[in-house]
């Protein structure tokens, strides 16, 4: 993957002067007494609104609803508020203050939903089932003679070319269909570390399949 600074670092021309609204948020939140208390209450109200909206947007996928979903939103808003007030010194004004603050509650909702899935009864890493792979990639049964060899080559490459960690991550996500964030929770890892293992596995597997003539060399990667 690209080095972070070379591709996304905030460039020197980015405004470092806070917009008036962000400056006001920062001023009252670093104040003391009633003004700060009022600002904290207002921020919590906004975070809770965002959390409620976000858990409902994602809830159906995670098979969670009702009071449990509301509890999760309340916890996410409370934890986000704690993180925000503890990290005010890290806000540099590269975005609006509210966007920066909302980011915390979105991440909290994301992490809490993943942990909920991981803890749910009966949800654990499925056993390997390579027979699911054709469906996962839309291989049509009546063309089985054409893709059977390709999928056999994928499986061989997974077993022979990947490191044990890459193999574990690839099989869990691609073969067993475990969501990336759930796998990260299951393995006590992070989203970034799991993604990096998967990124390296994908690159390695494609190189092998191209070298062995199963895939074309051309690059049809999706570009933004």
């Amino acid at each position: 993957m690209a080095s972070a600074k070379s591709t996304t670092g905030v460039d020197a021309s980015f405004p470092t002067v806070l917009d008036p609204d962000s400056a006001q948020w920062l001023r009252v939140l670093t104040d003391t007494g009633p003004p700060r208390e009022a600002a904290v209450a207002r921020l919590h109200e906004m975070l809770l609104r965002i959390a409620m909206s976000e858990v409902r947007r994602r809830g159906a996928v995670h098979r969670i609803a009702g009071p449990e979903l509301d509890d999760l939103a309340y916890q996410a808003a409370a934890d986000a508020l704690l993180a925000i007030t503890g990290k005010l010194g890290q806000f540099r004004g590269d975005s609006r203050f509210t966007t920066w603050a909302y980011k915390f509650v979105i991440f909290e909702v994301s992490a809490k939903l993943s942990r909920h899935v991981w803890r749910a009864p009966g949800v654990r890493l499925d056993p390997e089932d390579w027979d699911r792979l054709p469906d996962r990639f839309g291989f049509e049964p009546h063309h089985q003679s054409e893709w059977r060899e390709l999928l056999a080559a994928v499986r061989t490459a997974v077993e022979e070319e990947l490191t044990p960690r890459q193999r574990e991550v690839f099989v869990a996500i691609v073969v067993a269909g475990v969501p990336l964030d759930v796998l990260a929770a299951e393995l006590g890892s992070t989203r970034g570390a799991i993604y990096k293992s998967m990124f390296d596995a994908r690159r390695k597997l494609r190189a092998v399949l191209v070298a062995d003539g199963y895939l074309d060399h051309h690059d049809t990667a999706r570009h933004p």
Binding site: A4, D21, G138, G192, K196, F199
Partner: protein, 80 residues
């Protein structure tokens, strides 16, 4: 049969992809640019590449963009 092409697309990696940690660091900046229609993908191609490939980060992006858009369109989030 779209299986091979689907598999090929899945295995392809974009060298500009910055990964999850950098995406999480820059998400608020990127979303503000997208909300302002300020050519965010051109300015930060590594983030755009990552969002094309990472489901969980893409989900966070859409969640934050929805939050910012809702605030802009309805309930004010200004400090008053």
């Amino acid at each position: 049969m779209n299986g091979p092409s689907e598999l090929d697309r899945f295995l392809q990696t974009d060298p500009r992809d910055v990964g999850c940690d950098e995406l999480m660091r820059m998400l608020d900046v990127y979303v503000d640019l997208v909300a302002r229609d300020a050519a965010a993908a051109q300015r930060y191609p590594g983030i755009a590449a990552h969002l094309n490939a990472c489901g969980p980060c893409s989900e966070d992006f859409h969640g934050l963009l929805a939050a910012v858009s809702a605030a802009a369109n309805g309930t004010a989030d200004h400090y008053e």
